[in-house]
């Protein structure tokens, strides 16, 4: 415990802050990309299923699928913006 306290005392607060910011940025970007990845996979999978069941409606399905992908991707973009603000700003 004393060794740990001595180690903590040696850490520069500015370095600790930078390290925490870098780690948080990585978590923000990584976690924000996982959800949309699952969402897009589910969305496209269901769309392909719908197109296979009803090929004549493929145009409508593809249109809504594209918009769905773009909306889902917005979540990842929000995470990316948090990342660039934490990491580079």
């Amino acid at each position: 415990m004393e060794a740990f306290s001595a180690l903590v005392a040696q850490v520069d607060p500015a370095d600790a802050k930078n390290t925490a910011a870098a780690a948080s940025a990585g978590y923000a970007y990584g976690l924000a990309a996982i959800g949309p990845g699952i969402g897009i996979g589910y969305l496209v999978g269901k769309s392909v299923e719908a197109m296979a069941r009803q090929p004549e409606a493929a145009g409508m399905v593809r249109t809504t699928m594209f918009l769905g992908i773009a909306f889902t991707e917005a979540l990842a973009l929000i995470g990316f913006v948090v990342f660039i603000l934490l990491k580079f700003a």
């Binding site: 496209v44 090929p55 493929a58 249109t63 918009l67 909306f71 913006v81």
Partner: protein
Amino acid sequence: MTNHTGTNDAFTTRFDGPAPEVAVSTDLVKRGLLVAPVLIAVCAVVWGVDGAWSSAYGIVLVLVNFALAAALIAVAARISVGLMMGAALFGYLIRLGLIFIAVWLVKDAGWISLPALGSTIIVTHLGLLFWEMKYVALSLAHPGLKPSASNLDNSI
């Protein structure tokens, strides 16, 4: 869905013909270019000249992202539905990587303002999608009708 010989096939499937994603992304790009001066002006007021340049860069990023997503899906759909699914998933990863590289390359540039860039990316992306969704919802409700102001009035 047809196979390479044009006959119905449950296993080898692809979509020939017009790509609706390309039409949607073309609409998005047109509207994005339409509102770009307003967004740039707002960012210029809030963040100055750097904000204006960053906003313009952010708008270009979002529009290229839309166009690239549509092109990937449209090209893959002409080859096979399975490839379309792969293109949608891996295209997502590739486009995220490209956006990261595009921002990383300019992060230390003198003209960049990261808050302006970030807010422009989010506002442009979501704003254009909500704007487009109104017309797509109308098209789905009234297939074959070209979205216009009069159609919107009739649908209410």
